[in-house]
């Protein structure tokens, strides 16, 4: 075509038009760039941490440097990568289009959320140059409040601000989902990705303020000496854990629910089949969101809380396992009698199911009080949460990237590059984290700078695996650059998707659709 198509990318020009944009699609891209940079930094720390653990004793750094890298790795990955990750990047991009809206409900608030993430990240990141923090990403008191440097204050202040970014995004998504659906799109016709983002948003709005208040209390104790958590001042050190996990347990679902939304989309599209048990998947997200508020004490079975509390939390935790299992069954049932294509995004979806199943099953071990006593705070736990969060969220993130790449940019992401990246990430992941289950069995505690020689071989395997994962992500990055420069033109619906985003142009026009779509059926009507 001689006449270039008019879309959101060429709607306005110049860096300034990006930095002041109110278009959810552009904001999604800005999140992508920011979060991927954080991911790179967090990844470098991960590789350094693993390199240090290659041999017992000092391999590269002193214990202090190790503790700081372990802290930054965890804090960056959790607060700046996995929590905002899928909702901020892909949620922003696809949620309004999937429900047939022109934008999110509050475009200005949306831009402000991005700036808050950047400001928060800058403050937290500044401690890298001012005064490093060595508390671990959990900031447990009284170590954080009385026994370590003042860098903790800007660190948690940054996390506090990042929390507000998360609350605002959540609020925006809730209102958008309720108010801006296209005609005919009832709540029972919204795509499962939207259900997942909606449940996540509820968690973000309700849970994050607790973290924010907790961090403020920590700052108050550290600067003003108010006794809240420090027993020397009359406080209770375990109180911090209660507050912290009251947020952070729901937060692990903030991390994983959006990933589950992505998997539902991928499985339906690449099996070319109506999703099995739409209602079960949709409402199990809400159920997970609800129950996950009541299980925080399973992080504290050995903290000295009463036996009764331990047993109660164990019981409720088992209940969360059920809706989680339901989702897995539904995805697999969707594949039954489907028309399955193993393109790179589907490989990532399958990788997700494989890793998430292992992560979920080992979660049951940890939910069982008598067993958790042995595994708590050992490498078994490190392996478990990496299987769930990294195996889950990062697999989904890569799948989502390749799947929606044509919609976002108008170019096709090379399937071959995607598959190569998958092979490295998937194998590397198992080589890295599977040995850590065994280390946990043997009794190696987590956050250890130095270890007994009996743990050496498994640690070496794990470090070797981390190089494979690193390579896999570099290949993935290469794929992005290659597709931007040399990718084939995509067309509107290269993979045969059924949800609304595939009915508009790639890249979409400034206001998403040329004319408002009208819905007459559910989202996955492959007949």
């Amino acid at each position: 075509m001689a006449h270039e198509q008019h879309n959101y990318l060429n709607h306005q020009k110049g860096i300034w038009s990006w930095l002041t944009t109110l278009d959810h699609k552009r904001i999604g891209i800005m999140y992508f760039v920011a979060i991927m940079s954080f991911f790179f930094l967090g990844g470098v720390f991960a590789l350094l941490v693993r390199a240090e653990l290659f041999t017992p004793g000092k391999t590269l750094f002193s214990a202090d440097v190790y503790n700081r890298m372990m802290t930054y790795h965890g804090a960056i990955m959790v607060f700046m990568v996995i929590v905002p990750g899928i909702p901020a990047i892909f949620g922003n991009f696809v949620l309004p289009i999937m429900i047939g809206a022109k934008d999110v409900a509050f475009p200005r608030l949306n831009l402000m959320s991005w700036y808050m993430l950047m400001i928060g990240a800058a403050i937290t990141g500044s401690t890298l140059f001012l005064e490093n923090v060595d508390t671990g990403w959990t900031f447990y008191t009284p170590y954080s409040s009385i026994k370590t440097g003042l860098g903790v204050i800007p660190m948690v202040l940054g996390v506090f601000i990042i929390g507000f970014s998360s609350i605002l995004t959540g609020l925006n998504f809730i209102v958008t989902t309720h108010k801006l659906r296209a005609p005919g799109m009832t709540m029972n016709r919204i795509p499962l990705m939207v259900w997942a983002l909606y449940s996540t948003a509820i968690l973000q709005v309700l849970a994050t303020p607790v973290l924010a208040i907790t961090l403020l209390l920590l700052i108050a104790e550290k600067t003003l000496g108010v006794g809240i958590f420090d027993p020397q001042l009359g406080g209770d050190p375990v109180l911090f854990q209660h507050f912290f996990w009251f947020y952070s347990h729901p937060a692990v679902y903030i991390m994983i629910l959006p990933a589950m939304g992505v998997i539902s989309e991928l499985v339906a599209t690449y099996s070319r089949k109506v999703i099995f048990g739409y209602t079960a998947i949709a409402y199990s997200s809400l159920a997970i969101a609800g129950v996950s508020f009541l299980v925080w004490g399973h992080h504290m079975f050995v903290s000295g809380q009463s036996e009764f509390a331990g047993v109660l939390f164990s019981f409720i935790t088992m209940l969360v396992g059920v809706p989680t299992a339901i989702k897995l069954f539904n995805w697999i049932a969707t594949m039954y009698k489907g028309s399955i294509r193993l393109d790179a995004p589907m490989l990532f979806a399958i990788g997700f199911m494989f890793l998430f199943t292992i992560g979920g099953l080992t979660g049951v071990y940890l939910a069982s009080t008598g067993m958790d006593i042995h595994f708590h705070d050992t490498y078994f736990v490190v392996a478990h949460f990496h299987y769930v969060m990294v195996g889950g969220t990062l697999m989904a993130l890569m799948g989502a990237l390749i799947y929606w790449f044509p919609k976002v940019t108008g170019k096709i992401y090379s399937d071959l590059v995607g598959r190569i990246s998958w092979v490295f990430i998937f194998t590397g992941f198992n080589v890295t984290f599977f040995p850590q289950f065994i280390l946990g069995n043997m009794g190696m505690p987590r956050r250890y700078y130095d270890y007994l020689p009996t743990f050496t071989e498994l640690n070496q395997m794990s470090t070797f695996g981390s190089w494979l994962i690193g390579t896999g992500f570099l290949v993935g990055l290469y794929g992005v650059i290659y597709a931007l420069l040399k990718g084939k033109e995509a067309g509107n619906n290269p993979f045969g998707g059924k949800t609304l985003e595939w009915t508009t142009a790639s890249p979409p026009p400034h206001e998403n659709f040329e004319s408002t779509p009208v819905l007459t059926g559910g989202p996955y009507e492959y007949r």
């Binding site: 214990a63 164990s314 059920v322 069954f329 039954y336 099953l361 008598g370 956050r447």
Partner: protein, 340 residues
Amino acid sequence: MNWFSLITATSFMPVPATKESGDVDNLYIFLLVSGLISFIILIGGMVIFIFKYRRKTEDQKSAYITHNTLAEFLWSFIPFVIMMVIFAWGWSVFHDLRRVGEKGDVEVHVTARQWAWTFKYANDIEINSPTDKKLLDDPDSTLLKPEIVVVPVGKTIRFILTSDDVLHSFYVPAFRNKMDAVPGRRTTFTFTPIEKGDFTVFCTEYCGTKHSNMMATIRVVDGEQFAAWQAEKIAANAGANNKGPAERGEALFKGSLGCSGCHSIDGSRIVGPSFKGLYGNKRDFADGSSVTADDAYIKQSILVPTAKIVAGFPPAMSSFQGRIKEDEIKDIIEFIKTLK
């Protein structure tokens, strides 16, 4: 190690050395077997579908199946039942591990501190671990040799835990048991050893720089050996009282007060400043002031460590107020005087 324990991966766990740990391992085997079966059903099903329903032609159609109430009920209900079994089993094992309020045949007060454990028996025998000797002769290794804490086999042992500073956690993999040591609180760690031998204690709650270094060794022996060990310790204690003040100070420094965890005596930097050449020399503080280290300064530093912060060091030391006696301060000062 037999084939069964290899398959169930319990061979990777340390030998179960207490009455309770065998029960944990049985639960573990159940979890592993039921987990493996679930994994095979889920992932096996998935893999079969991938191959069986692979798209062979571009226009291949799929079946239109929206849901199936019976299947959905079953796959919610069966996992629910299994999880309830795991919950109840876990609870009963947990109850045996905790035994809150039950008195032990041997009771030991355990105090955690950055980065050491003090074990105090009813008859005042005191063990501090780790020692200041290296565990391995690798020059890069930072691990210190654990001190040995002796308990009799077949008796109920209760450790009463607390912490002087931050959170720590008392973990013995061979006992499958773990409990946090919380400042301002008492928690208990009760066990009944059934195997003789040496078992490693780790700290599993991240507690700062030398977290990975807080080890101890629990040696389980028979009743007579335990009694002999106690008698020997009591005799050694009596001998220690005849020593001079500097020697007593040295014992405190390296032992129960655990100063050596943070301060060296050879000039090297650990966490706090070295004591080599401290006495009678000038100290520069973070606020720009300075004094000559004398008795009053050392005493103040022990009781109110935050009053004067030595330049270049974090304000990391907590007060020894209430944990140290007046004479003991004197002994320590005598010891510091010898470090020229």
